[in-house]
Amino acid sequence: MKKLINAPDKVVDEALAGMAAAHGNLIKVHTDPNFITRADAPVPGKVAIVSGGGSGHEPMHGGFVGRGMLDAACPGAMFTSPTPDQMLAATKAVNGGAGVLHIVKNYTGDVMNFEMAADLAKEERIAVNAVVTDDDVAVQDSLYTAGRRGVGGTVLAEKICGGAAEAGADLDAVTSLCREVNASVRSMGVALSACTVPHVGKPGFTLADDEIEFGIGIHGEPGRKRLKHASADTLAEMLMEPVLSDLPFTRGDHALLFVNGMGGTPLIELYVLFRKAHEIASKHGVTISRSLVGSYITSLEMAGASISLLRLNETMVKYWDAPVVTPALRWGA
């Protein structure tokens, strides 16, 4: 294992210190427990949005804290959901009196820890709603699984809801917008290589030179199946097919296409994938009216990519386009 770190158990804290040093104008990093708030939190009268999850997915979620997106993010240990005390402290710190929305990716640990935090916050009379995102079509949502995972769609939900909250929408409105975004987005990912969790010291799985893991999540775990590697165009077809058919997307839909890198894949390859995904969407009659390309929700240094497709309506477009000022996403202001 070769990494730019000092010690496995220091990575998260030191990276947080680095974020504080780099982005002091945008965010504030709190320790013990760890959480990140926007520099001007709490914003009185504004619905606050709190998210969080294991570390190792950077820039998610800490990089999305700032005006127009998240009010707070709670980073857990590497690939490990944060603990309720973090979410409770963050919720209290950013509560501006208009209630707090927890955006939680659907993983057993995240859901349970956020639930416990919400219970505690409610005991302190803070209005908390929670939306659990589950946009990953690789997993069947059934009694036989923990349900679909929250993946790339979460980033889009956080941006759009952040825009709405900034514009003054109330807690119920932001909550139902979040549900709507989650219900309108589907994602699918592929890994070309595994990643190494620092304290584990070796890759989560091993792939031969001609193998890929298809239907991966974001925790370096194997995917739904191991397949032969294929061209970018073929992979784009394989990723887009279940994404398009699940919602389903139909002729005339307008959509946001998000091609996300898993951390170790260079941007040039993401654009190669975007090109084909865009073409496939167009052939399907779906107009791509907004785009996002880059490594925004990652699995450490894993090579690979995921595709998320969000059916847009006017409200979503409006809040997607709204100003956002965070370390990782920034426009319009």
């Binding site: 690939f79 490990t80 370096g220 739904r224």
Partner: protein
């Protein structure tokens, strides 16, 4: 072998568990890497180290169990944090202020803990989770004639239950994403739970 356990034995138990998780975290992480995300051992090692560091001198076994559970909740994270935390908190609540816990008390504690974990995680036996170690362990304990034999039987049943997860398909937790690919791997949470009960049996004498 005592017929009742007090805070001394409980502290010993937690210390043994912490040592065991610290030493065996690599193994647990490997199990988790195969069907999860590879952090289970690190999570528990971090959590139980914190439990031992913060244990102090609580007034009763119940207080000790509760505060240990709170420490686990705030240090473990992941799925196992709330579950192990709930296990301890609910055992602690059941223990009340009693200075010493006998066989009957432990039966109630373990049942309360099991109920708490099942309520929190909504897993059933056969879902390939820690429940598959905890549930048979509680039954074996309840059926045993006394505390000593009960804890030994519980540890054995938990180990057997963990081993029995190998051929299962998971229906809860991360392993459920893998479908049939989870077959052939032992559940990390069931394994760590068996270790916890083994440590308890050892601490009891």
């Amino acid at each position: 072998m005592a017929s009742q356990l007090g805070i001394g034995e409980l502290a010993d138990w937690l210390g043994r568990a912490a040592t065991r998780y610290a030493a065996g975290q690599g193994y647990l992480c490997d199990l988790d890497a195969a069907i999860g995300d590879g952090d289970h051992g690190a999570n528990l090692a971090r959590g139980f180290t914190a439990v031992v560091a913060k244990i102090g001198t609580p007034a009763s076994p119940g207080a000790m169990l509760k505060s240990s559970g709170m420490v686990l909740i705030s240090t473990v994270g992941g799925a196992s944090g709330p579950l192990y935390g709930t296990l301890f908190v609910d055992m602690g609540k059941m223990a009340g202020d009693a200075p010493l816990l006998d066989k009957d008390a432990w039966t109630d504690l373990l049942k309360a803990g099991l109920a708490g974990v099942m309520a929190r995680g909504k897993a059933q036996p056969g879902d390939k989770t820690m429940i598959d170690a905890l549930d048979p362990a509680v039954a074996a304990f309840a059926a045993a004639p006394n505390l000593g034999t009960g804890l030994a039987a519980a540890a054995q049943a938990a180990a057997a239950g963990a081993a029995a997860t190998v051929p299962m398909i998971a229906r809860k937790g991360r392993a459920s994403y893998l479908g049939e690919r989870a077959i052939g791997h032992q559940d990390p949470g069931a394994t760590s739970l068996a270790w916890l009960l083994e440590a308890l049996a050892q601490a009891a004498g």
